[in-house]
Amino acid sequence: MTSASWSVMLVVTVNAILFHAMPRFSRPDILFAVTVPEAFAAGAGRALVARYRAIVWSGAAAALAISLLLPAPRPGSGRGGLLIMGVVAGNMMVALAAWLFAHRKARAHAVPPSDVRVASLVPRDTSLPGGALFAGGPFAILLATALLVYTYRRDVPDGAGSNDSLGFLALGGVYVAMMLTMAVSLARRTRQIAVDGPAAAAEQRFRRVNVLVLVLTGYAAAILLSATTVGSIPAFGDTVSGSVGFVLLPLMLFNFGVTFWMFRVGQGGQRAVAPAARQEVHGDATPDHAWKVGGLVYFNPHDSAMWVENRVGFGYTLNMGNPRAWLLIIGMILGPMIASRLLF
């Protein structure tokens, strides 16, 4: 087996595992991005899931077999690389087609959306986990690093000038600001689906963990950027390179922990709630017809929610029918572009 075959095997296996697990991520009464009766999802719907998974793994096995038959890529020739990319892309297409096929089949069992919407009159906690002071931590880290770089500006070697370093730190600040904007909008502009009881509590916990992940992503970016910048100053180089792992390791472990926890509790934390406690909750309070491309994109101009629960995968996605969502996307694209244009 060539090294290329090993790479294909790794990518194809990860892809297959991801697609295999995909139906497990949804709420218990959402199957292949379609709202169905929970009894169907737990009963007859399992045959649909089994058929979908069989196609996903057959595609993966075929991709692997083809990669084994491919000749080893010759140095300097791009043809071998292209063939490998083609095999990986083909495998991805098969998995996606299997999803779309299952989505179409599940639509025959869709439950009509309810005409009645219910909401709690109890205000919920929409603050950032840890408060504003904790959320501002990454800015403090970047500012402290900037002050250090400015103090030791004469010690920074040529080619890694302090002006460039300060520019990168400012760009890091823009990235952190973007993460915090997303965290705030996620905390405030997401619909609460379960009105009260354990289902509502689980949903609120799930949302707050997602918000915390965004805040901690800002911390990780600030720490990494600061460590790289401070590492370029000779007086701190050795100390920083040895200690950065100690700070980043807990963040990485937290991310793994969150992924595992989300897999266990499912979308909105609802798989961890007893069926009796979520009897009142049905679906994710979004109409099926507003989900496009097999449940990947949510487009509903009549829905005031900016963020809605993902139907493919964990977490939340933007309502592309909401002008505020587009403002956020444009801000996310233009923010770093304008900042780098101004700084460098």
Binding site: R117, V195, D196, S304
Partner: protein, 131 residues
């Protein structure tokens, strides 16, 4: 705030959304499930939860503020306040509501309810029972 206090919105109802929200809120206020000092969710939050524009919720809050049930403060949301009940009866408003009630009574007669059944149902509703 006592237990589960909810507001519901029927998309198929001919009653405008802001009026449905105000009606539900008023019911909770009259039945004292919402008490003076209770804070209501911000208009944007309730709007997102119900899937309506925040102005729809703001209109319902304003309606109840005009009736003396709520105090609206910029950026601090709506708070339930102690209402000086019973207020002087607004004759014009009462006549308007009684006319609506007369239409509903006629509709109830036409679907087969006797006047005795209607009056006993009205008595129960006036005492705070659910339909």
């Amino acid at each position: 705030m006592a237990g589960a206090v909810r507001v519901s919105l029927n998309l198929e109802s001919p009653t405008p959304a802001y009026r449905q929200i105000a009606n539900d809120l008023r019911r909770h206020l009259v039945e004292e499930r919402l008490k003076p000092g209770d804070l209501l969710p911000p208009v944007r939050q309730l709007g997102v939860d119900l899937g309506v524009h925040f102005n729809t919720v703001a209109l319902a809050y304003r309606m109840l503020a005009d009736e003396g049930w709520l105090e609206l403060k910029r950026r601090r949301g709506a708070t339930v306040i102690a209402r000086n009940a019973p207020r002087a009866v607004d004759r014009r408003q009462a006549d308007h509501l009684l006319r609506q009630l007369a239409h509903i009574a006629a509709e109830l007669r036409s679907v087969g309810m006797s006047s005795r059944q209607i009056s006993s149902a009205l008595r129960r509703l006036a005492q705070g029972a659910r339909p």
